[in-house]
Subunit: 244 residues, 4 copies
């Protein structure tokens, strides 16, 4: 039997604690909703972790055992400890997949891995978002139609200050007149990163089947590959070298 | 159980018929050597097809049932019927994976799909080739070391006249002083294409474990994905449109 | 003084002949409107050519002298002679820039150079298009704001069946609910190609300052570079090679 | 007359002070050799700056006036002040070009902008390097042949831990058996970055005409473009939005 993919669904988890409306929408937190869906897949082994746990739930052991980490954060990006951020980034470069969700665009790990500001335009009016598939042959859109529609979402608009994705899979249309690169694939060292736009805390986005499917697909795409161990440093010649 | 990947190993198969030396190296043809290896994988269903079969072995039924097609051609590119080439290309755009091997760089389907001349420098001296991995997190290099070495190969050198690959996974070093983009990934419509350099007919390249592993990995990477059916043509508005 | 960029503005020119409404909008043809603007730039030397001239106005001499060719076609793609198409493509691969405008997406040269179907969704309702800049540091958007707005345009929607652009500079939003990759840069051999979406014949798009500016910028970006002459074919080793 | 490109040639400048052999090769420092060449171009306005000047010679005014910054560092990466690094990176994102030379691959600004380790294999034996052009139509190779050869250089080998370049223009061959991505173009926010491999301090690389030409070309390519000012933050809808 194939090895399972070990997923850690990370969530800041503060909105759900401090805001009654959000708590009602996500009584088990957004991480709970995402994890519940992912657990229905036999090839996944799923756990959750949140900001307010010791070490944000991301101990060395947890990170080591994690094949793919999903990340949602917003109001408390600044509370994430820098040493944990460094460990998360190091694990990504080592091969761990990272799925960055919605406002995670401004999280410390994503910004550090991208090297740009990752800023954007935004507006919270609950307008319609339609996410179009640009690459119908990409594994993250398996089982998806030509677009998915989300009745009410926060708007994110370009210019999204990211490096051009290695593969741009999804672009959003917003009722208010903007577009956004919503599904962005990156290779960084041995790791893979997928940024996926939707998921404002005040809407029911993480119950949307299309959204959940894409997250599950992205976890499979981003799972580590048994590629070569990379050696860096001084290196002896593989061939006879003549020098003066 | 997961659906098997149906692979058709296509070979021109002329060198093996007309040249005693080649026949000795590949008594069952290069397609035979490749297919034999691929058949050792339980997730693959493998058949072969060659130029001199009716319809080059690529009838509509065969193409329809093929998830991934591997292509080796050289001395008889011109003998491949244009109607078959059109069908192969159409199937790729529909989602069939295509693994183009060595001198297949100059085959009709590859050139048509690339839109460039696909020409290059070459030299047959049996020199050493060392293929370096640039993207250690890419699935086509699973189980491979930092490089693979082929003791005797034909040289291919840059400028290789192809569109820049969507992902460049491998680059070759040649003893005579050249470099070459040896492992090139492309998305084209719903299909995926992998160009893989090694495999001159007069060497034992298709018995090389590293080479074979990469071909097998590439077949998995290029296998079709159940992405959206794409509609093209006149399209009604999804939103109310006000015009003058 | 720097060498001028020789631009040939090519137009099918049929709508302007056969349709009174179009003739009124573009009394000198769309090529006339574009050329008039380009001629206001001192670094450009501009001529026009149309389908109904001998050799479509694209004789060997004209092509040889052309640094950048802009291409508009629609109702008569099929009337473009294949030998001329081959010459245009060959010149692009040799280094000539190609700016493909609007319905030129389905022209013979563009489809041949892309290797895909280049099909898309479309709708003619005269709805609003807003073209967003994704790469604010790219030379084709010099002098442009964050977006340009076109009050009335034909809609083109994704999935646009093209290879992922080397650089995606612009994405359109349409009132009816679609998005589209509107500014796409490609390197093909020594040539550069820019696909630019707007320009339906029944609107005044080629009088829009932002649209014209982008076309001018694209001409500069796509102008040939004195890069190396590429040799292809048999090649002697540059280093001493030991073989068995 | 066209606006001049203001170039600041930055150099750590320590090897030239502390090592007699290096001092002999570059009596005016490597920055001196590079600046001397760049000054022969009428479209450039060139100054130099070094680590041991106040603020490393990179005051706010200097950075503000700099269109393109070239960066060479090696033994003293750690001595570069973090606040200056932050300012350099911010200026790049604002539009300033950055040409990173040789061991600058491990400089603080480059690593921060890339988000990866930027590590590699290396060996100092004075072996031959041959740098091949992959993209003959790219402006950084104007006036260059199919390759440039450097008789004696330090080896850098893959896996070079960088994000895949937006455009890969050059790949090196080394006598000892390695390959390396030697000319790498990146867009980051409004800025452009070019990594260019050659230039070990103990060889006469910055007197090599081909190397110098590529640096000059890269300065032109990386010069700022008058693209849109990007607004980030809360954004009012451009269209009437209906929400529940």
């Amino acid at each position: 039997m194939a090895k399972k993919i070990h997923i850690t669904v990370w969530n800041e988890g503060r909105h759900e604690k401090t805001n009654e409306t959000i708590k009602k929408i996500y009584p088990d937190g957004m991480h709970g909703a995402i994890a519940k869906y992912l657990k229905t897949h036999k090839d996944f082994e799923v756990r959750t972790a949140t900001l307010d746990e010791p070490d944000h739930g991301l101990t060395d052991d947890v990170l080591k055992e994690t094949d793919v980490l999903t990340w949602w954060g917003h109001m408390a990006h600044g509370d994430v400890r820098d040493d944990i951020v460094d460990k998360v980034c190091a694990r990504v470069l080592e091969g761990m997949g990272l799925i960055v969700l919605h406002s995670g665009h401004y999280s410390k790990p994503f910004r550090k891995l991208m090297g740009t500001t990752c800023s954007l335009k935004w507006r919270e009016m609950g307008e319609k978002e339609r996410i179009w598939v640009l690459e119908p042959g990409h594994p993250v859109v398996a089982g998806i139609g030509e677009y998915i529609e989300i009745e009410h979402e926060e708007m994110y608009g370009e210019r999204f200050d990211i490096p051009a994705p290695d593969t741009l899979v999804l672009v959003s249309w917003f009722a208010g007149g903007e577009v956004f690169r919503s599904g962005c694939c990156y290779h960084r060292s041995k790791g893979k990163i997928f940024y996926f736009r939707p998921g404002h805390e005040s809407y029911r986005t993480y119950y949307h089947e299309g959204v959940l499917k894409i997250i599950a697909n992205a976890c499979r795409w981003a799972a580590p590959v048994a590629g070569p161990d990379v050696y860096c440093g001084h290196y002896k010649p593989l061939e006879k070298v003549e020098t003066a």
